[in-house]
């Protein structure tokens, strides 16, 4: 019997090592796999490349991970927020590398990784600083920039409901980057609010099929805060 539900955090995070590229779901505080992020801190994995839309706020989650010096490089579309002081201080001090990627390009680069597309041409960012040094090509009368697939070693994902095959659905805007990152990593680890019986999820409405999921941990933490 296939059972991707793991009993505890140790089993969930097994094999996550320093030096990894880790894709972290969430947009703002919604759909963020906070328990899994905290586990990264506890395991003291270092030298990480983190791919996430935001840089975290306050001193929890990603901000906490950065504060602990675990992150070498951040690939991100919007590292600024009202309370993203941890990241900003590290960045100004030259203690963290930053690759700014337009939000849609970031999503598409991970979707490409998940879908076996090596690279693609997008009109986004053509003629801007973020396209400097990148190949360009005119297609259909419009200039495009070449962007490469962005693979993760690990994806940390938050889901609303999951079954033992790893099928996932999400809750409203908690979906965001989670399904895209689940496709793009070698090992996809999910924290889910609810675990349901196999067959309980509507086959027409499964957003992330279990083929993209390796481990599921039940973490019924409640609502996002902030």
């Amino acid at each position: 019997m296939i059972d991707k539900i793991v009993p505890d955090m140790n089993a969930a995070m097994a094999g996550v090592v320093s030096g990894s590229t880790i894709l972290v779901g969430g947009f703002g505080s919604v759909g963020q796999p906070n328990a899994l992020i905290e586990a990264l801190i506890e395991r003291d994995v270092r030298d990480l490349t983190i791919v996430a839309n935001n840089s975290g706020g306050g001193v929890v989650g990603l901000a906490h991970l950065m504060q602990r010096g675990c992150v070498r490089r951040l690939i991100c579309s919007f590292p600024r927020s009202s309370n993203s002081t941890v990241f900003e201080e590290l960045y100004r001090a030259g203690k963290i590398e930053l690759e700014i990627v337009p939000q849609g390009t970031m999503a598409e680069r991970m979707r490409a990784a998940g879908a076996g597309v090596g690279a693609f041409y997008t009109p986004t960012s053509y003629g801007t600083k973020l396209a400097e040094g990148k190949e360009t090509r005119e297609i259909g009368g419009r200039m495009h920039v070449l962007e490469y697939a962005l693979h993760g070693d690990v994806a940390l994902v938050e889901a609303w409901r999951a079954d033992r095959w790893g099928n996932l659905v999400f809750n409203k805007s908690g979906r965001n980057f989670n399904p895209v990152m689940a496709m793009a990593a070698r090992t996809t680890i999910v924290q889910t609010q609810h675990v349901v019986e196999l067959g309980a999820l509507d086959p027409e409405a499964i957003v992330t099929p279990g083929i993209f999921v390796d481990r599921v941990l039940h973490v019924p933490y409640g609502d996002p805060v902030g």
């Binding site: 990241f87 939000q103 849609g104 999503a107 598409e108 801007t128 999400f170 805007s173 979906r175 895209v180």
Partner: protein, 215 residues
């Protein structure tokens, strides 16, 4: 220079909202653009899109009815209208980049007379730059309208011949709503299509660092 009463931010948003017809799919940037939604009457069905996978957004929920799982790209709590739907980020930006939005409204630091827009970074930033979805939206939507003050707080024109700040997209803006005027970006540069009552051509030109055409 004749004294004029500039449009308030609310009036600017209302003025822009007036030009959004029923049936359009519209993405509103953070700041003044977000205010536009409040000026579209609910019976005029305009479908608002948010980068984080929300299509058919409704207004902010009343206090006490907040769903913590439903936010917009500005991280504010919103609602979903009947007929709305959720999608993931790659699909959401597929809508944007694929030209399926009829309109995107953004704020800007500068707009150039050829439609170039700079709205994501200034040389003054000492924090890290942050682009979000601005470049995707500016490059992808069918129409890009900018809503912004006509000048900076210290009176520097934001409508210019050529942007000085880092660009968000080239030749993307087609219309600008400021606190003093509504302007189209044409092959011949900025064309003024409306001015705030009391504003004169000369006074508007003085506050603008590019040549204005008047209809």
């Amino acid at each position: 220079m004749i004294e004029t009463k500039p449009w308030s931010r609310d009036a600017m948003a209302a003025r822009l909202a007036h030009d959004v017809p029923e049936g359009w799919y519209v993405n509103l940037g953070i700041g003044i653009p977000t205010m536009v939604a409040d000026h579209v009457p609910v019976e005029r069905e305009v479908i608002f899109h948010s980068e984080n996978g929300v299509l058919g957004m409704g207004p902010a929920p009343p206090p006490g009815a907040v769903d913590p799982w439903l936010i917009n790209a500005g991280k504010k709590h919103v609602t979903l209208r009947a007929g709305g739907s959720y999608c993931h980020h790659a699909d959401s930006f597929g809508m944007i980049r694929g030209g399926h939005l009829d309109l995107c409204v953004l704020g800007a630091f500068e707009v150039a007379e050829n439609g170039d827009i700079a709205n994501w970074a200034t040389s003054e930033n000492d924090t890290a730059p942050a682009v979000g979805g601005a470049m995707d939206l500016a490059a992808g939507a069918k129409r890009l309208w900018v809503i912004m003050e006509h000048t900076t707080k210290d009176g520097r024109p934001k409508l210019v011949e050529r942007c000085g700040y880092p660009l968000t997209a080239l030749a993307a803006v087609t219309r600008i709503y400021t606190n003093f005027a509504v302007l189209d970006v044409t092959a011949g540069g900025f064309a003024v299509i409306e001015m705030v009552p009391g504003m004169t051509r000369e006074a508007l030109q003085e506050r603008t660092a590019a040549r204005l055409a008047f209809a």
